[in-house]
Symmetry: C2
């Protein structure tokens, strides 16, 4: 598969913690966009950093994967998202390597991406998201 960039780093934040102050007031990053990804149970705050982004992830409810992560690990880096040229090709190659991605068919992510995830057991401890940009138009959902 062709990997183009670190699209973003996803950071799990609890309600009322000081994460947002750190990224906005101490590091002076600007929050460009906020978006709910209902299918993944997260509210995201997006801070561009060069051609990448920091995304703060808050759970939308107790069944959200982020809520479960916070309960087990506390706040911190939840996943890294890599931009791929072709998400369907990436999923095909994962399966050929014996890896079952979390979403066997691409799902909508933030900002018109199509995404899947690779479980930490298959990567050496890291939750990896793969995202294709501009993938939610008619072509991407064909």
């Amino acid at each position: 598969m062709k990997i183009l960039n670190i699209e973003h780093i996803g950071i799990a934040v609890g309600s009322g913690d000081k994460s947002r102050d750190f990224w906005e007031k101490i590091l002076s990053l600007t929050m460009e966009h906020e978006e709910r990804v209902a299918g993944q149970g997260v509210d995201t705050l997006i801070y561009p950093v060069g051609p990448s982004k920091i995304e703060l992830l808050a759970a939308t409810g107790p069944d959200s994967p982020v809520a479960k992560y916070l309960a087990k690990h506390g706040p911190g880096i939840h996943h890294v998202c890599l931009e791929v040229e072709d998400i369907k090709q990436a999923i095909k190659e994962l399966k050929q390597s014996g890896i079952q991605p979390v979403f066997p068919t691409p799902q909508p992510g933030v900002e018109q991406t199509l995404v899947t995830f690779i479980h930490p057991r298959d990567t050496g401890g890291v939750l990896v998201e793969l995202a294709q940009k501009g993938g939610t138009g008619s072509h991407g959902q064909e």
Copy 2:
């Protein structure tokens, strides 16, 4: 402070685990450079991803911060490194905000950087490295 890019993501790997296979064989990333950072007790393997990098971090010995991280958390994302324009200015601003960086004066990092770290207690659970590129010449160490 002026933050330019996500310089790299540092991933702690144990001896003999499958992390390296994942990044090299499954994702087809190319290891460009390896380097020991004696002052931080790590051996690094560096994989460019667009203008950023994935760095796999192995402990050089049992007293390495990475060894302690692995003993507590297992393998996974250890830190995110943000490229700053001016590391001394960044440290000055952190101190003005009441944050004591791990290195109060910049230390040599990988690939001729000058770096410091911000403890997870000050960021909302994330170990953040700040790095200035090209900083280890005569100007940077003045």
